[in-house]
C-alpha cells in the first residue's frame, strides 16, 4: 500500500492518541482500582503492528515517535524501545513471508513470539545499562505475564490499527480476519 504524507500524519496522530489513552489507562486507572502490579506494554503491541504491516521508509521514525510518547509515562525512556523496535522491524524484512495473520490464533502466536524477542532485547539492554546481568531473568520474567494478555488482545487491536493505517484496503496487504 502506498501512503501519502497526509495518510501517514493521520495514522500517526490516531496511533499516538490510542497509545496515550492506553498509557493513561495503565498508569492511572488500573492502579486506582487496586491493580498496581499489572502493566501491559501497549506500546510494544503498537510497534509490533507497525513492524508487521507498515512497509514504508518512515517506519523507524514512527517507532521512535511511539516510544517517545511511551516515555512520557515511563522512565524507561524512548531509546531502548526504539532500538528493539527497529531491530525487530529489520529482522522482519527477512521473515515476512513466513508470518501469517490470516486467523486470530496465528496472530496471537506470532505476536507472542515477537514480544518474547522484544523482551529479550530490552532485558539485555537494561542489564547493560544497569551494569549487571544478575537481574536479567527477573527483568525478563516480569514482562511475560502481561505479554500473554497482550497477545490475546492483539487480533482486536490489529483490527483497529488496520483501520488507522488502512491496511487490507487493497490487495497488496492482508489484514487480520477472525
Amino acid at each position: 500500500m502506498k501512503y501519502s504524507p497526509i495518510d501517514i500524519l493521520l495514522g500517526t496522530l490516531k496511533t499516538c492518541l490510542l497509545l496515550i489513552f492506553l498509557e493513561i489507562f495503565t498508569t492511572a486507572f488500573l492502579p486506582s482500582i487496586g491493580i498496581d502490579n499489572f502493566k501491559p506494554a501497549f506500546s510494544v503491541l503498537i510497534v509490533l503492528f507497525l513492524a508487521f504491516k507498515f512497509e514504508h521508509p518512515f517506519l523507524p521514525f514512527l517507532i521512535l515517535i511511539t516510544q517517545y510518547v511511551h516515555a512520557i509515562f515511563s522512565i524507561e525512556g524512548w531509546a531502548i524501545g526504539t532500538l528493539a523496535g527497529v531491530l525487530i522491524s529489520l529482522s522482519l524484512r527477512y521473515l515476512k513471508d513466513l508470518l501469517d495473520f490470516s486467523t486470530a490464533i496465528s496472530t496471537i502466536i506470532v505476536v507472542q513470539i515477537f514480544q518474547l524477542v522484544w523482551f529479550v532485547v530490552i532485558s539485555v539492554m537494561l542489564s547493560i545499562k544497569l551494569g549487571t546481568f544478575a537481574s536479567f531473568f527477573s527483568i525478563f520474567w516480569k514482562y511475560v505475564p502481561e505479554s500473554f494478555v497482550l497477545s490475546i488482545l492483539s487480533p482486536l487491536f490489529f483490527i483497529l490499527l488496520n483501520k488507522f493505517w488502512k491496511v487490507g484496503s487493497d490487495n497488496s496487504a492482508s489484514g487480520v480476519s477472525i
Partner: protein
C-alpha cells in the same frame, strides 16, 4: 514536476536503509545518554508531561464518579416507585456522608503528614500521587507538585511511616519519584539496633534488599533500618523498613538481607517532599548562643 515527498512515499529500499540507520544511531545515542538515577526533561517533554498528568489525575475522579453513579442511581431503578424519591434522597445523603467522611479521613492524613517530621529542619511540600510508571520494571510515582512549588531534582520524599524515594524527573507542576523499590535507587542505611551499615536497593516485587552487609554483623529479623544520612540526598534517621529475611551462604563476606519497606506502597496517596534546610532557625539559634556568650 514530482514532489520530493511523493518520491519519499515510494517503497524504496534505499530510503528504508537510510532511515533505519539514522534511527538506530539516534536510539544508540539515546541509550548511552539515558540515566535511570536522574533525568532532566527537555522543554517539549515537560510540556507533554504537564499536558497529560492532569488527565491521569482526572481518571481517578472519573472512576469514582462512575462508581458513584452505578452504586447510587443505576442500581435503584427497580425499587418501588413510591419510595423512589425518598430512597434517592437517602442515597444522596449517604453519598454526602461518605464524601464527608472521606474528606475527614483525608484531612486527618494530611494533618498527620504535616505534623510528622517536625524535628526535620526542612521546608516541606505536601503532594498527592497522580499516577504510576507504565512499565512494571520501574517503580516510579508521579506527584502533583513540581518546580513551581519549590521542588528540586533529588529532593527526598517521605511519608509519616517512612522513606518513599527522591525526585527523579521534574516539570513545573509535576514530579516523578524514583521510589526505594526501584533498583536504580540506592539508599545509605543503618540497622538501628546494631548500627550496621548497608545500602538499600530495590528488588523484585514490593521489597528491597540491604546490600553490602558484612556477614559478621549480628542482625535479626524485624530489626529496623533507617537512613544513614551519608549521601547528599536523604537526611539521617528516616525509617526505611524492617528486615524480613536473612540468608547467610557458606562463602562470601556479606549476607543477603531482604527488607520490607516501612511505607505501604499499595496504599500510598499523599507524600511529603523535603526541600532545602531552613537556614533562619539556625541563624537565630547561632545569634542567641553568641549573645549568651557575650553576656
Amino acid at each position: 514536476m514530482v514532489l520530493p515527498l511523493k518520491n519519499f512515499a515510494v517503497d524504496s529500499s534505499r530510503w528504508k536503509l537510510v532511515s533505519n540507520i539514522i534511527v538506530l544511531i539516534i536510539a544508540l545515542w539515546g541509550v548511552s545518554k539515558h540515566q535511570y538515577s536522574i533525568n532532566k526533561v527537555s522543554v517539549f517533554e515537560s510540556f507533554l508531561i504537564e499536558a497529560f498528568a492532569p488527565i491521569q489525575r482526572g481518571t481517578l475522579s472519573v472512576k469514582e464518579k462512575i462508581s458513584y453513579m452505578v452504586d447510587h442511581y443505576v442500581l435503584i431503578v427497580n425499587t418501588s416507585k413510591v419510595n423512589e424519591e425518598l430512597k434517592a434522597e437517602v442515597e444522596k445523603l449517604q453519598g454526602k456522608i461518605f464524601t464527608m467522611s472521606e474528606v475527614e479521613k483525608e484531612n486527618e492524613r494530611l494533618k498527620q503528614l504535616l505534623d510528622f517530621g517536625k524535628e526535620i529542619p526542612r521546608k516541606k511540600v505536601l503532594a498527592q500521587i497522580v499516577s504510576f510508571d507504565s512499565s512494571n520494571e520501574f517503580k516510579v510515582l508521579r506527584i502533583n507538585k513540581g518546580e513551581k512549588h519549590g521542588l528540586k531534582l533529588l529532593s527526598p520524599v517521605i511519608t509519616m511511616t517512612g522513606l518513599v524515594g527522591y525526585v527523579y524527573r521534574l516539570t513545573p507542576n509535576y514530579a516523578d519519584i524514583l521510589t526505594i523499590l526501584d533498583q536504580n535507587n540506592r539508599v545509605d542505611a543503618i540497622v538501628t539496633r546494631t548500627r550496621s551499615h548497608g545500602i538499600v536497593e530495590g528488588s523484585s516485587g514490593f521489597r528491597a534488599q540491604l546490600k553490602h552487609m558484612n556477614r559478621t554483623e549480628k542482625i535479626e529479623i524485624e530489626d529496623e533500618v533507617i537512613t544513614a544520612g551519608l549521601g547528599t540526598i536523604y537526611p539521617k534517621g528516616i525509617k526505611v523498613g524492617k528486615i524480613s529475611k536473612i540468608d547467610k551462604e557458606n562463602y562470601g563476606i556479606t549476607q543477603d538481607v531482604e527488607i520490607t519497606p516501612a511505607v505501604n506502597f499499595h496504599k500510598l496517596e499523599e507524600v511529603v517532599v523535603l526541600l532545602e534546610e531552613i537556614e533562619i532557625s539556625k541563624d537565630d539559634s547561632k545569634k542567641e548562643s553568641e549573645k549568651k556568650v557575650l553576656k
